[in-house]
Each structure stands twice: as C-alpha cells, then as structure tokens.
Symmetry: C2
Subunit: 340 residues, 2 copies
C-alpha cells in the first residue's frame, strides 16, 4: 500500500510553533511513513534544528522569504509576498516537484495561495476545508465541511460542498452512497438563517446528492450522516470545540478516577481498558483538514499544531495522494452535476 | 432561601413529548421545589394524566386552544392563534398571575410571544437565550448567549448580548467583573465574518463591558471567560453538540471500561468514583435557557425535553425569580450603557 515516493512540501515557517515543531513532525513522518519532505522556509532557521544524520534524498530545504502573519489580510499578503513560505510551497505542487502541501500557518492565506497557484476544480466557486470526525458508531466517520475556509457562505457554496463531500466520502472513505446533512438549528426545512433555508432547497433538489435533511448539533456524531455541510464559521467553532472537549473529558477522568485507595487500586487494574478509552477519545485530535475543491492536495493544520499534529497532517496528505483523491474527484465532472 | 409562593406558567402543549412528559416534570417540581404550576393547554388532554391526589393550590389547569407547530412561521402563528398555549402562558406572566413561564415548544414562537406580550427591556433590540455551561475549572461556569433566539445577528445585537450577559453573570451567577468573549474563529480582531469583525470593535469600545477578546471553539469551556456572545445559529449548534458529546462520552466509557475480567473487577472497585465522574459529565444536560432581554422570566427548553429537563427548567426559572434577575437587570439602566 505504501508509496515511498510521496513528496510533501511543508510550510516550515507557518504556525505558532514554527519551525521547531513543524520540522520535528516532518522528521518523524520521514522515519515512520517513508515520505520525502521539502521544508520550505528560511534556511538559517531550519538548518540548525536538523540532525546531521539526515539524508538529502529524504529531507530537502527549499528557501523562502517571510510568512503571512496571523493578523495580516490573507489575499493582499499572498500577493505582496510572492516568496513567502506558503507561496513557495504551493508552487512546488503546481510545478510537479511535490505531491502535496501542508501548512499550519494563516489558513486564509493558505487558501488564497492555493486558489491563486493551484486553481479551482471545474464547477467549484470556493474550496472548503474538510475534517473527518469519529462517530458513535465505531465503524463510521463523518466528513464535515467547511471547517474554516469560508466564513460567509452563499447557499450555492453549501451545495458545492455537498457535491465535493459526497465525492470524497465515496472515493476516499469508501461510503457507497454518502448520506448528506445540512448543519442547522432544527429538523424542519423552514429552520435556520436565510443561507440555510435556501441551501436546504438547493441541495434537496440536486439529483446527485443523497440529501437526508438537516443535521442539528446533537446529530453531528450520531453516525446517521456521512457528510455534513456548513459555513466555515460554525464548522471551525465546532471543530475546535470538539477537539477541546476530548481533552477536557480526559482531564476529568484523570482527576476523578484515581481518587482514594479504591481509586488507585481500580485504576491500576483497569490500565489496559483506560488506555483503549483514551485512544478512542483522543481520536478527536486530527492533524488538520483537507482543502477540497482546489487542483492539488493541500492539508491545513491548526495554528497551534505541534509535532504530533504535523505528523498526522502529513499522514493525511499521504493517504490522499495514495488514494488518488484528486484524480477521482476530477473524474466526477463536478461541473456537470448542476452545481454551476 | 426557598420561595414556596413561586408560580410557574407551563406551556403544557409545547414540545415533542407534550403533554405527558411536560406534566410529569411539572408535578415533580411541585413536590420537590414547592412551586405552584399553572398547566396551560387543552384540559381534556391534561386532566386524564393528572393524579387524583393533586391539590388545586399546587396545580391548576389554564385552558388554551392549539399550539404553534414546529414547522409554522413563528410570528404569524403567534398572531393568528391568540389562544395558543404559549400565548396564554405569556399573558399569565404579563397579568401578574404567574412569576415565570416555561415552554419546550417552538422556540421562535416563544420568543415572538414574549416580545409581543411581555415586551423588551429598555435598550435591548433583540432578546437572547442564555445557557450556562460548566467549565474545566470546577468552580466556574460560562454563560453563552445567544443559543437559539436569533439566527442572524447584527453587530449591535451582539454588543447588547454582552451587556445583558454581564448583568446576568454579575447579579445572578455572582461574578464580580464578568470577563466577556466574542465567539470567533481566531484570536485576532481581524478574524471572522463581517458581523464578528464589527462586533469586536463595538464591544471593545463599550466601557461597560470587560471585553477580553475573541473566544475560539477550544476556549469555550476553558474557564477563561464568564460570558461568551455569539449569534443564535452557532450558539444553538454548539449547545446541542455539547449536550450530545457528554452522552457519547459516557457511552464510550460504558463500552470500554467493563471489558474483560479485569474490567469487571476494576469497575466494581471504582463504582463511587465512576458515579462522581458521571455526575460531572452529565452536568451538560440543562433544562433550557433563560430568555434574556424581555420584561419577564421566561425559560425555553429543547423540543425534545422529557420530564427531567422540564424539572430542571422549572428549577432554573425559580432561581431566576428567587434571585430577582429582572429587577436587577432593570436597575442596570441598559439603555444608558451606550448600547442604543
């Protein structure tokens, strides 16, 4: 299954913990996943933290100058700084020198760079960031998009997300006929804001989408939906809340269970079960989301990403390359699906 | 502390499980909280489910005709059906025959009825539903508003929510100087949709609000904020997601911990600790939210409310009456706080 030849361009300067944690995650991916990483950024910042044993066929530094700051306006930053690390990393994919790109920097800037350099898939106005969540049903996952690329969404964007999400769910997650829901505040089609009401109608009338109706907050992890579409504002709040809740719960368990002598004894007996429990809850920690709808594989991580998240982001990118996500979505002829 | 004289008007016909679960919750509140309940609805539906031992000074049926259906447009329904249970219940408060009202029916209709019959507090354009969440810090709670009354919010509504929430946090939850956050998708003031960017500026310039900045999804339960404001769409998604997550996590614990012989033994030793754990996580189940900004005490429950939620909603309403929420917020002179 492994494709040892996969080449990942990494925005080594993007994110709160760049370049240290970014490089650390990348090196772990080289070792465990057999990928080649192209570390894009300032050589004088990256070189000193690379071990001398690193081989050039595994890790390469690609020079870039500057980054887009978190408080900078995305599009103007991308245009004003053509040599910024995110721009150089995107160009590597565009030029065929890398198979995928990863950034934990300014996510708006990453999207803008992807749009300008990689371009959109036919039929798609706006790309969306998709995140895969575990559900209550152990064998089922749910793809939520958008989790942060578009803070305001027109109804047709939500319809396009439904088409994109269905293709991804079918061809990458292996769901035969993905059930699509619209995130909303009630089950009835009249519920929600204007965009949600109009999107409900457009999605339900699109014959290429298996629309099963509105999904409320309580339905997100129910396993009843394979794909849930929403604007990037509510999706981002939900993603970050969900990730934090897992950690909070583990903390409550750590506080409450070992209390007292019985607690100490019980916990030591339960050690293997507690470990399994932790793994299931921790599953909420993703490496990042796939930017769906652009003509290239692009994973966007949280600004706060540390080495394990970067490693997971690289694994996600590698899986997308191995599964030929792009070719499969492209073969779907999205522009013929009545979206535009 | 108890005020045995508190009279609660209950929309007995509102919600998916009306009138059975609504009446069951109300009867428990009569017994355990010492309140008087006015069950508003169709006598022929309510009478048969009341035990014959009930005394008229504790429970009274107030006749009403019809309800606003979940798929009905709120305002026109409220206007077209003056005798609907939610309208009659609101009127009881307006006329001083009840101290508070509770509904698990159409939340938009409950808000419309409250606006038309009770009116708004001075300085408030739109009321908001506030929900209190537990945080990671055991002794701290966070008030989130709006969790469902307004699906689209202008920036000044969010500013008004910040003023309302601060007053509630200070005078009811006992927080000396409530720290207010704006729910958003990044820490920087330039992040978010147009409404969030403009609200950030307005809230930060209001001298009566102790604004500490944007709160991301991961910050909601951190304990760093006493009040978080957001539009009713994202707030409602978050509330329902948070409630479901608690249940899901308890299910995962029930599935994983008792597995195998060690699991059985360990769990039986840990029984008291597991019970405490469950209580802390279960705390996510509220009875409903307070409708803040209208001139009366009004608690809005989920449509799916069952008896325990109705009981909790009644307890919340009684606490609001006991704490004189309305008088205290009114004494704040909201209209002088630069909101309008």
């Amino acid at each position: 299954m492994g494709s040892t030849g996969v080449r990942i361009a990494i925005d080594a300067m993007g994110g709160d913990n760049a370049p240290g944690e970014i490089v650390a995650g990348a090196l772990r991916a080289v070792e465990e996943l057999g990928v080649k990483v192209l570390l894009v950024g300032s050589p004088q910042d990256i070189e000193p933290i690379l071990p001398s044993s690193i081989k050039s066929e595994q890790v390469e530094i690609v020079p870039a100058e500057g980054t887009i700051a978190m408080d900078e306006e995305a599009l103007s930053g991308i245009r004003r700084k053509p040599k910024a690390s995110i721009n150089v990393a995107m160009s590597l994919v565009k030029q065929g020198q890398a198979d995928a790109v990863i950034s934990a920097g300014h996510s708006g800037a990453a999207m803008a760079a992807a749009l300008l350099r990689l371009g959109r898939l036919p039929g798609i106005d706006r790309p969306a960031i998709g995140a895969v969540f575990p559900t209550m049903v152990a064998s089922k996952q749910v793809l939520i998009l958008d989790v942060g690329a578009n803070v305001d969404c027109r109804p047709q964007f939500l319809e396009q997300f439904a088409v994109l999400g269905s293709a991804y769910s079918q061809y990458v997650l292996g769901v035969t006929e993905p059930k699509v829901g619209l995130l909303n505040i009630g089950e009835e089609e009249c519920k929600g804001n204007d965009a949600a009401i109009r999107a409900h109608q457009m999605i339900s009338e699109n014959p290429y989408i298996k629309f099963v109706g509105n999904a409320e907050g309580r339905d997100v992890l129910s396993g009843d939906f394979d794909v849930i579409v929403c604007d990037g504002f509510v999706g981002n709040v939900l993603l970050k809340f969900a990730e934090a809740v897992g950690e909070i719960l583990l903390q409550i368990i750590r506080e409450e269970l070992p209390q007292g002598l019985r607690g100490q004894i019980g916990c030591s007996i339960l050690k293997p079960n507690l470990k399994r429990l932790k793994q299931r809850i921790d599953h909420a920690e993703h490496g990042g989301g796939l930017l769906l709808g652009v003509n290239g594989i692009c994973v966007i991580g949280h600004g706060s990403s540390q080495a394990p998240s970067i490693f997971n982001a690289i694994r996600l990118a590698k899986e997308a390359v191995d599964n030929q996500v792009l070719q499969r979505i492209n073969s779907q002829n999205l522009s013929e699906k009545g979206v535009l």
